[in-house]
């Protein structure tokens, strides 16, 4: 894996060795009798981006939550930057280190920010906790991050309720980047944005990757967004990986029946939606 941006991130040990930045092995998660995630494995090389595609209930968000540490796997292992994170962190220090490896940006920019904290305030808190920097250094980094995500100084000092959805999502991205993670999980992070804003945020994410060599895990059902932002893709269906490969190849030449149906379901000129194409095992069930 060529490491063209390694120099920009002296902290990234994985970048220097070329080892995978994330390794997920035989991951399984049960909720009672329901198996939400079943034997999921994948690796991400440093600076590369992976899409996890699937419908609601496919387990894709559960995988993301386990990687970030919000759910504990029933079995299987997760290693980020060479460090195991399959078990809960044992100390605050351990938790902080993990936060420096993986961060997440959630779908809904309206509920994922503290309504009482300005963008600057939330970034400052992360910088203080993660890096312990003095005030002037934090101030300089806040300005860099705010600039990087394209917020102006008025917006940076505003409370979330006065910001639009796109601006809030920029705040959430800046907050996540403040911890200088190797991996940024984007859990449907652009899905709720208007098309014209979504394009701005997607361009921004591409710029950030060029500048920092961060790896993205994009959890998404939007195949056009997946194409735009990722190198590789895994397709999940009912908790299992049913297809994987280079994003272009998975989208242009899908092999699994579910991936084929997913691809055929995307509206395009001359598209004729059809019903009852599903094989019996794929029939929609009532939620449990």
């Amino acid at each position: 894996m060529p490491d063209r941006n390694g120099a920009a991130r002296p902290g990234g040990t994985a970048l220097l060795t070329g080892a995978p930045v994330l390794e997920v092995t035989n991951l399984r998660k049960e909720f009672g009798s329901l198996t939400a995630v079943d034997d999921v494995s994948f690796t991400i090389a440093a600076g590369r981006s992976l899409a996890v595609v699937g419908e609601s209930g496919s387990g894709k968000t559960t995988v993301a939550r386990m990687i970030v540490g919000l759910e504990r796997p029933t079995s299987g292992t997760i290693a980020a930057c060479g460090n195991d994170r399959s078990r809960p962190a044992r100390s605050a220090r351990d938790r902080r280190r993990r936060g420096g490896e993986v961060q997440i940006v959630f779908q809904d920019p309206y509920t994922s920010l503290d309504p009482r904290q300005t963008a600057e305030g939330v970034i400052d808190e992360v910088l203080r906790l993660h890096h312990g920097w003095p005030a002037d250094r934090r101030r300089a980094r806040i300005d860099e991050l705010v600039e990087l995500v394209g917020l102006d100084s008025r917006q940076a000092r505003a409370l979330p309720r006065t910001l639009s959805g796109g601006q809030r999502q920029r705040v959430a991205i800046a907050r996540a980047l403040a911890a200088q993670p190797q991996i940024l999980i984007l859990d449907e992070s652009v899905a709720a944005l208007d098309v014209s804003i979504q394009a701005q945020v997607l361009n921004l994410l591409a710029d950030i990757r060029d500048e920092t060599a961060v790896s993205y895990i994009l959890i998404s059902h939007d195949l056009a967004v997946v194409r735009q932002l990722t190198d590789e893709a895994v397709v999940m269906y009912r908790g299992r990986v049913v297809e994987r490969g280079r994003t272009a190849q998975v989208l242009d030449d899908p092999q699994d029946p579910y991936t084929k149906r997913l691809r055929a379901s995307v509206p395009r000129p001359g598209w004729k939606p059809s019903r009852r194409q599903m094989p019996p095992a794929h029939q929609e069930e009532d939620p449990t």
Binding site: E55, D194, V195, L223, R227, L251, P269, R275, R276, P287
Partner: protein, 327 residues
Amino acid sequence: MATQHLLEVTGLRVTLGDGAALRGVDLAIRPREVLGLVGESGSGKSMTARAIDRLLPRGAQVAGQIRFQGSEVGALAGAQLRSYRNRVAMIFQDPRAHVNPVRRIGDFMTEALRTNLGVRAEEARQRAVDMLSQVGIEDGQRRLRQYPHELSGGMLQRVMIAAALLTEPALLLADEPTTALDVTTQAEVMAILDELRREYGLAMLFITHDLELAAAICDRTAVMYAGQIVEVRKSELLHTDPLHPYTAALAAARPDIAQKSRRLRAIPGRPLSAFEAPAGECAFAPRCPHAEPACQAALPELVELDGGLSRCIRVAELRGQLEATHA
């Protein structure tokens, strides 16, 4: 236009509190026609549908005219209004927010038949079961006894469609009916909607933020920006030959499923809501790559060109210059 319109909206203005929500909407739907209504949040798509179905919040001030089959909708009240709503049925984005969670599917589906149309309970239930089978739900008897939480989102949206069709409407107002659904479920629900509206000869106003979806299933598409319609175009020309710079920019901003682009052509700034729009100028001008000083001198009119409508003073000179895009 020679064809008799089913619905005609002229100069529709809605004011909520002291802010404008619609700033003069004109649209017409012919019988059996599917008209798409596309735009970003705050553009007024949902507000337009709500105004048509007389479902605006209390205190909303409405000006302009809505005519359905020749009669003035604003003048309807009581039984007439209820009967109008049966003829102009609405399907919402989030079915769960629009059904009573503590009432059974059967009560919900048969209510309009029983209370407005005087159909006896037993017959109403039978019609509901038949209609459920039309939307691909075979075990209707059992479904009628269930509660909304027992159904998945896709299933519930099919129930909503069936319920809307039960009152034999002539026009369906579909407000982002598939936005909350998975892509594959969306394809199914769209297939059902498309099939049934052909079979029953319905017209449809199909609201969506998804230009590709509108282009695929609508006969014509109207594009809204800041509380006004800025373009009406035959859907197949929407991507290849748009008339308004906003439509072209919107299409170009979407990533392409067939190829990665080095950079997306993002539109600078953010979409304006109707209440923020300046009165005497083109609301899109500040974000428009083709804007010139004249654009901010007066509010452009909707002008007809090449079978479509565009609210752009430069529409004629920009002809062929608005970038054709991938889709």
